[in-house]
């Protein structure tokens, strides 16, 4: 295993050790069942991601944004939330709804460009996948603020990457949340690359967590490949949010070892030796090693979890592919609650010409 210090480790919170010089820690309040559930969720997301890349190569889904190696950030943070709390994913967290029971078929349909990929955010408290960069941060701020105004205890979490911190929407959303003392967790998945642009070309700040100072909120740095450290940091941010103390910026640091998306070839811009080195410390392997050191994970149990996730994906893609072709009338169905009269004429003409 590569040394844990491969990343800039300034103030980087960690719980999981390396089985050698760095000792394992533990998170208070997590039972053995919690630890195994975290494992199950990591495997679920890992399996979703690996199968999706295969499905893309098989032509069964469209272009797909890979999140291999990012599972600990998603699982650890989401596990610190209650069901009433809202999740605002970017495309890098496209499958995070699985952790709330959102069917794999729905998310796969989204990547298949089929309207069956629509979901009602209020059914899962998971907002729609945000494709443009960082523009959902103000949505999460508004939701959190709006819940607080209603006296609800719910908070929100917005996921975004290191590149998003350069966007105006990130700044406006973070500032809004801080001014309104909105119960929001700003979760930055700093994988150090925005497609081909390295973090050094994105910011002159020493760390992204430092940006929190300018908004008057705490900034926390955590090892993004350490699911327990991510969980613990998020749990503290959630407690602050519920106590009325406002938002927290969490910078989870990792390294993108997969292409940005299936349409990307990182060989043109990334050091592949560094990628190989970083892959050695990927989050699922580290967590499994941790569980084994604790004697909590047997080969049989790990295999059963993988088999369950694989079956979920087989069922999911089968259900997505069984969706009947979308009717053309859906073009006009949902843009307005109260559609203009012209839509009816447009649809009639479309049917007359194309059938």
């Amino acid at each position: 295993m590569a040394a844990l210090g491969a990343l800039d480790s300034r103030d980087l919170r960690r719980v999981i050790g390396d089985g050698e010089g760095v000792p394992d820690g533990e998170v208070e309040g997590l039972s053995e069942a919690d630890l195994l559930e975290l494992h199950r969720q990591l495997v679920l997301l890992r399996t979703y991601d690996e199968r999706s890349v295969v499905y893309h190569r098989q032509g069964r889904i469209g272009t797909y944004a890979i999140f291999w190696g990012h599972e600990a950030m998603q699982v650890g943070s989401a596990y610190a939330l209650e069901r009433e709390d809202w999740i605002f994913p970017s495309y890098r967290e496209s499958a995070i709804g699985l952790l709330r029971g959102l069917p794999a078929a729905t998310i796969l349909s989204w990547w298949r460009g089929h309207p069956a990929g629509w979901w009602n955010p209020a059914d899962w408290n998971v907002a729609s996948i945000c494709v443009p960069i960082g523009t959902h941060v103000p949505h999460a701020a508004g939701l959190a603020w709006g819940k607080k105004l209603r006296g609800d205890s719910a908070c929100a979490i917005a996921y975004f990457g290191d590149g998003a911190t350069s966007e105006g929407a990130f700044h406006e959303g973070a500032n809004f949340a801080a001014v309104m003392r909105a119960p929001l967790i700003l979760f930055c998945n700093n994988n150090q690359w925005a497609i081909s642009t390295p973090l050094s070309a994105q910011t002159a700040a020493e760390t992204l967590a430092d940006k929190a100072v300018g908004y008057g909120m705490p900034g926390v740095r955590v090892d993004g490949a350490d699911v327990l450290a991510v969980y613990e940091a998020t749990r503290e941010a959630v407690a602050r949010a519920r106590a009325g103390e406002g938002p927290t910026l969490i910078e989870a640091v990792t390294y993108r070892t997969a292409p940005h998306a299936t349409a990307d070839d990182p060989a043109a811009y990334i050091d592949l030796e560094r990628v190989e080195e970083e892959r050695q410390r990927e989050c699922l392997g580290r967590y499994e090693a941790y569980l084994r050191r604790l004697g909590l994970l047997s080969n049989e149990a790990a295999e059963a979890v993988r088999a369950e996730a694989a079956q979920l994906m087989r069922d999911g893609i089968a259900a997505a592919e069984a969706e009947p072709p979308a009717d053309r009338s859906l073009l006009f169905s949902h843009a307005f609650a109260d559609p203009p009269a012209s839509f009816e004429a447009d649809l009639a003409e479309l049917r007359r010409i194309l059938g």
Binding site: N120, D123, T135, A141, G142, W145, L149, G173, F336, D338
Partner: protein
Amino acid sequence: MAELTLVEAINDGFHVELERDADVMVLGEDVGRAGGVFRATAGLRDRFGPDRCVDTPLAEAGILGSAVGLCMAGWRPVCEMQYDAFSYPCLDQLITHVGRYRWRTGGAMAFPLVVRMPYGGGVRAPELHDDSPEAYYVHTPGVKVAIPSTPADAKGLLAAAIRDPDPVVVLEPKLHYRTLRGEVPDGEHVTPLGVARTVHAGDDLTFVAYGSMVPLAEAAADALDASVEILDIRTLKPLDEDALLAAAAKTGRVVIVQEAPRTAGYGAELAAILAEKAMLDLRAPVVRVTGYDVPYPYWQIEDAYMPSVERVVDAARKLLEF
């Protein structure tokens, strides 16, 4: 009925709608303590509290973006953009999310938000306090756009926008905020979206206008020795196409008056509809009197930019002689 200025009518409408529906909230720059730079939201903070009339940070995309989240939390936010041209930062949210989010959820979630702003020139203001940006908004799928020209409609269209289940952008003619007075119904008053208003019936020629160009069209009609039909579009999207076609068919001669720059402006859409659907009713080409394709000028020469009575009269005479 009370006689109110246009901005007083908007303020009255706010008081009525916030009283009627506890989910309605107002947010924007200086809308609370100051009551808005034009006083459109005066008294709301005192009456309904700082949580329902919110002074926000100076961030237009943040205002509209957080309004999306407020809708998800069950609010009906009304966002003020302080001036027309200062609304441009919010276009990102409008185009990428506001107009798409309902569609993105398969119609499951509603986004009943309002974006309102003072628009237009002629007020001797610094640069970027004078724009007519309606085409940007009209061109955005998933949003509706209304522009009142009278105090009664300013109150009624605001109420309709607030009550509408879809996002609505309302542009208010700031030139006439205080120069135009009119009878305004007391209490609840709704002007339905999608219904144009015949300002004046006539037989020889039709003026089609909206917002601050409606009083201008009336002045031009007064200056002509002809019987002029004047149609106030009121809702640019959804357009009352039947009213447009009827007003055109009545006279066969149509002048469209638009303050915004000419190319791809809303007047071009009106002209295209007439070309597609009114050809046999027309006796002359449809003409537009518009602003020019230039940045809105410094105010010492803004009168040369703005459509004037003289330019509308000139266009009308050409049509009458065609």
